[in-house]
């Protein structure tokens, strides 16, 4: 049998449960990404509005999520929680927040002050300014942050198989331990596909949501 056929067989095998693990992997990544986006957006906007000093503090704390190895974070949670889904989500959440937070903060802060002035002059409340002017203008940057987090989370979710939550990483580890290349690839290839899909999907959504004016402004002049 060709390698491709071997890999497919290894993926479908009830022992590795490729489809089930893919589903788990997606659930894990999506949950972590969703929570990270929510937290990142909220904190990012907060940081943009409060003073420089406080913002710096929040950002530094959040960056711990990137510098502390994800597995160490999960191990910390394991000492108080039982194995499984939520400790893993926590670790991935901590990893995913910094890019989104940073990009939201930067994006909102760098919005053209002229636009903000103008909208205030038009009588918009602070909340409306945020919702209708600042966030939409910051959208490209925010989405760049979400895309980065998505790919990092999907990749790192492969490492959390050691805590009983499952995911495609388990298949990779099994293949690695037993030197079974087809099993290893049966786990690694889907992970890569998921990451690429995430890039494409978020890239597409970003293009749809970006206000037309911004899109036009970014296009090089003919």
């Amino acid at each position: 049998m060709s390698l491709a056929a071997d890999i497919w067989e290894a993926f479908r095998s009830p022992l590795t449960d490729g489809w089930g693990q893919t589903l788990t992997h997606v659930r894990l990544s999506a949950t972590a990404l969703g929570l990270a986006t929510g937290a990142g957006l909220a904190l990012g906007v907060l940081c943009a509005k409060i003073g420089r000093g406080a913002a710096f503090l929040v950002i530094t704390v959040s960056n711990l999520g990137r510098t502390v190895p994800t597995f160490a974070l999960i191990a910390l949670v394991l000492s108080v929680a039982s194995l499984g889904f939520w400790p893993a989500v926590f670790g991935l959440f901590a990893l995913g927040v910094p890019p989104i937070l940073l990009n939201t903060y930067t994006g909102v802060r760098e919005v053209d002050p002229g636009a903000v002035e103008a909208s205030r002059g038009m009588g918009l409340t602070a909340g409306q300014v945020l919702g209708r002017v600042e966030l939409p203008l910051a959208l490209p940057l925010i989405f760049a942050g979400i895309r980065t987090s998505a790919v990092q989370i999907i990749a790192t979710a492969a490492l959390v198989g050691l805590v009983g939550v499952g995911g495609l990483g388990v298949i990779v580890q099994s293949g690695l331990a037993n030197s079974q290349t087809e099993v290893l690839l049966a786990g690694a290839i889907p992970i890569a596909i998921l990451a690429i899909l995430a890039e494409l999907v978020f890239g597409g959504v970003q293009r749809l949501i970006t206000p037309k004016g911004l899109r036009l402004a970014r296009r090089p002049a003919r």
Binding site: A10, T16, L83, V163, G164, I171, Q173, L176, N178, S179
Partner: protein, 323 residues
């Protein structure tokens, strides 16, 4: 003039800092190495490995401590699986590691359990003979036997009438199993249980091998991949299922024995080589099932360091002098 001097000073400072860091790194002491060079070992360096779980680490440290007492310099590293250890010792990355006769027979050599000779000694001799052309020397095993087993909670056993592995085959669709990733596709692991006994668990929780009892303790799994020497089998409410078909361990014994890279062994001066084999034999002879369980319990329950456990044991057995 002042600016240039300033730049020069900064550059010099950076150079000194970098050089100092490199020196400090180079002078760092490796974990687990040390020991006097006096003794038949003559300061020969040996790289040992364990397979990443408590029992393996303890045996590797027992070897290391005993060998250091004989004047060897040792270093113990932890590897992820049998395959990785076998590959590493064959290409000389490591010199010595503890393996099981059953694992060597079924897994490394890929032989069929049905073709295994009768008796632990015969199996060892066959492994030894097969290892020689692979550049590996198999040294005599310890008395204790550590087979693969499936253990389930007594509650689950009562509810589903589980006494043998075949019983498990019928009930497994309702049960959750805890095992490590390697077990999933390893030929003598889950695939064998499925093939021979029809075991197909509702869910398998894959965890790091050292954490495999955690899902049982947390109530998330009812059955677990157990080793015969696991002290948790005694302390948790578990019952070991009988291997009615004799296929799981394939009726093959799992005795601990040291594997040495032949080229390394023969490359040692005669005195050192003899000291190596004699020391290992002395240590292995002491390891009965009771003793090894006690040592593992210290690491798994008391959270003691394998090296400390090894040192205490060897001092108590008067194999090494107390330091």
């Amino acid at each position: 003039m002042t600016v240039r001097f300033g730049r020069l000073a900064a550059g010099l400072a950076a150079l000194i800092l970098a050089g100092g860091t490199l020196l400090a790194a180079g002078c760092g002491d490796d974990d687990g190495s040390g020991g006097a060079s006096d003794g038949p070992g003559g300061g020969a360096e040996l790289v040992l490995a364990d397979k990443g779980f408590a029992e393996s680490a303890i045996v590797a440290q027992l070897y290391a401590v005993a060998l250091e007492d004989q004047g060897f310099e040792t270093e113990v590293t932890s590897l992820g699986s049998t395959e990785i250890a076998d590959g590493a010792i064959r290409n000389g990355e490591i010199d010595l590691y503890p393996e099981y006769t059953g694992t060597a027979f079924l897994n490394v050599l890929g032989r069929d359990g049905a073709s295994a000779p009768a008796g632990a000694e015969a199996v060892f001799e066959e492994v030894k003979a097969a290892y020689a052309p692979r550049g590996l020397t198999a040294l005599p095993p310890s008395p204790y036997n550590n087979g693969n087993e499936v253990a389930c909670t007594t509650d689950a056993a009562e509810e589903y009438g589980l006494e043998t592995l075949s019983d498990l085959g019928e009930a497994s669709g309702n049960l959750v199993y805890s095992a490590n990733a390697e077990h999933l596709t390893r030929d003598d692991g889950l695939p064998l249980l499925r093939r021979e006994y029809g075991i197909d668990f509702r869910e398998v929780k894959t965890v790091d091998i050292s954490l495999r009892y955690r899902p049982i303790e947390d109530g998330d799994a009812q059955c677990v991949y157990a080793f015969g020497t696991d002290p948790k089998l005694a302390t948790l409410d578990l019952v070991v299922l009988e291997d009615d078909k004799g296929a799981y361990s394939a009726g093959v014994p799992f005795q601990n024995f040291p594997v040495v890279n032949t080229a390394r062994l023969e490359g040692l001066p005669e005195e050192a080589g003899a000291a190596l084999t004699d020391t290992l034999a002395e240590v292995d002879a002491l390891l009965t099932e009771g003793e090894i369980r006690r040592l593992i319990a210290r690491v798994e329950f008391d959270q003691d360091d394998p090296r400390d456990v090894a040192e205490d044991f060897l001092v108590a057995q008067e194999v090494v002098a107390s330091s």
